[in-house]
Symmetry: C2
Subunit: 385 residues, 2 copies
């Protein structure tokens, strides 16, 4: 019998009504497959735990944060197993360490280094539905680690690869990958398939469909992902080695970027090393003598401020927007860049940087860009003729 991995996100397991919908979906798959589920924490649980920790400490100890945050998935996994058992289907929850998910020790952004599937396989052989807590593992010293926000997607793909599953389904409240965020762009439409590489660019640019590392992992092991909705039966988007003929796949607007400008630094290359050591993910990075300019994610702001604390730097930090257009071979079509720039002609003085690569064109603006530009861009580049 084939094994499938089904991953359900936080909004899919947010309350008892949704847990019942999830359970029915699982039971349907169980008829013809061995089923391993991966679940996120319920609804806003992780956000709430972070908030509570920050009330105790502005920069909470990172090891302890992982101990705290990992409880969210343990709650949802055990609840789902309780429900499945009640419905007459044998089910067992396994935490990250019980499921044999080993990671390195980078708390809050650990990487999966190995999966020992013996316990999961034993439970599958017993005919059980296995519910694994997403987002977490243990390091070689038996400390609890987490994979970073959205890490449950990575857990699902890593498990699917280790179990040689047929497919990895990622269920959420959106029913696939769209040409743009359908909440912002009226005419956005769903793609039936997309390549790993394209998806990886889309995720990397901040679209909240899939955790970016999970796509990388899926490509590495050629594990097809199907993203679909928990709440309907529409066909989702398949992410695999396939290629489609249209050039532009998706456009993404990312407002969660901070542009940091620092003057008066003594050893510029020391600064970048410190950023890496503190696990602050850098976007672009420019050094001119004693002046440095770089982008980071909004979520790393507290880490950065702690790192720069007590230093005599001259700092400014501003919110900026990055708009990215993703599609294989996009750099071979100069008319696309022309079309894009045309959309932004009345705010072209705010363009800080344009970056063109084989699969992606990104434009960084010096301030937050109004949503109407995204709609214009989608109308011009992504609408079906």
């Amino acid at each position: 019998m084939n094994t499938v991995v089904l991953k359900f996100g936080g909004s899919s397991v947010s309350d008892n009504i949704n847990l019942n919908i999830v359970a029915q979906k699982i039971i349907e798959f169980k008829k013809e497959n061995n089923v391993v589920c991966v679940v996120s924490a319920q609804g806003k649980t992780t956000d709430n735990l972070i908030k509570e920790a920050k009330e105790l400490s502005a920069i909470p100890n990172e090891r302890e944060m992982d101990v705290l945050l990992s409880t969210g998935e343990q709650v949802s996994a055990s609840k789902l197993a309780i429900l499945l058992n009640m419905l007459g289907h044998k089910a067992i929850s396994l935490t990250g360490w019980q499921a044999g998910i080993y990671t390195n020790s980078d708390y809050q952004s650990s990487k999966v280094v190995d999966i020992n599937t013996s316990r999961i396989n034993k439970e599958i052989e017993d005919g059980k539905i296995v519910v694994v807590t997403g987002f977490q593992g243990i390091d070689k010293y038996s400390n609890i680690t987490t994979l970073g926000r959205g890490g449950s997607d990575t857990t699902a793909v890593a498990l699917a690869a280790a179990l040689k599953a047929e497919h990895c389904y990622i269920f959420s409240d959106v029913d696939g990958v769209y040409t743009a965020d359908p909440k912002s762009v009226k005419l956005a439409h769903k793609l039936s398939s997309i390549s790993y590489e394209e998806m990886s660019y889309i995720s990397g640019e901040g679209a909240k469909v899939l955790h970016d590392r999970c796509v990388e992992l899926a490509e590495k092991y050629d594990m097809p992902i199907i993203t679909a909705s928990t709440f309907n039966t529409h066909k989702g988007t398949k992410i695999s080695n396939c290629m489609e003929d249209t050039v532009i796949k998706s456009i993404i607007k990312n407002d969660n970027i901070l542009l940091v400008k620092i003057g008066n630094i003594e050893l510029p290359y020391n600064l970048i090393n410190k950023l890496i050591n503190e696990n602050i993910k850098i976007g672009k990075y420019i050094i001119k003598g004693k002046y440095a300019e770089f982008t980071i994610n909004k979520t790393d702001r507290a880490k950065l401020e702690k790192m720069l604390d007590k230093k005599n730097y001259n700092i400014s930090i501003e919110s900026v927007t990055k708009i990215s257009v993703v599609g294989s071979g996009i750099s071979n079509h100069p008319e696309i860049l022309k079309k894009i720039l045309d959309v932004f002609k009345d705010i072209n003085e705010n363009i800080l940087e344009i970056d063109v690569s084989a699969c992606k064109i990104s434009i960084l603006f010096s301030e937050i860009v109004d949503i109407k530009y995204l709609n214009n861009l989608h109308d011009k580049c992504c609408c079906k003729k």
Copy 2:
């Protein structure tokens, strides 16, 4: 340096203000001791998790309940460690499995069978305050188990014994062991010391000072327990091998007992075996032909009803009161029994049973007894002259 184990109950860690009080207490002990803390879940967390599980299933799968419930202590332990680190004291949280607490597989009422202290000792040697999640462990198959309600007390004493600690402190919102529940009996007063045996009778009769199994364990390893308040610096009650000269130590009124009467049973001894298999704790148990009568804790009602489901028994279940008077050698003082019965002379027709043993006199009533009788009894038997 001496090692002490400090246990903090749910009300002691219920919110950030209380966590700060707890942290200050720990830091004070750390000045002169190695400190291992054991924490319960915050406030009503465990009750809420049970409620949520029962919304999914009337009788939730027991293994999964333990996975769910164990998250409560993981949250409080990591929060306390975050706070202690923020205050400049190196601290690390360890879950039951990380702390090497091995139990049997009786989900929801597991017994500690072994503690591997190597990880805790390593962290102590590193100068860290070790915060261990109470109430939980793992069985030999790496399943998460819990020790039953109030099990954190048992965790603390078991750890203290395994670590050869000097004392085990149990901090809560009451500042010691009283001659009766001070919420019900105005003249109740605190005992400065009491023997293990007496304490074990007091806990066994339902007084919510200490988990009954923890006292048994403390006696077995001669580990002195000091119960004291988290919220003041009053001297608590020491529970050890010492003996005091007064006979009556404490009186306890327990209204959480159900009297079950079953008629028309075919094999009486099968019934008692089933109760044991279902982990339903029996108080008194009487069989007369096809009729059985026994007492259980209110908390086991759902289990009992599930067990008796579909059977053609003739059943009645009623709430009753048991009043117990505890003191070493009480049976050698017949005048005490006389005094006790005198207090209940106007409700003597409700007395179902009187049980006299070396350390305890218990009286079971056929209905809930008014609190005024407890006050009268305390006035007559426990008030300092």
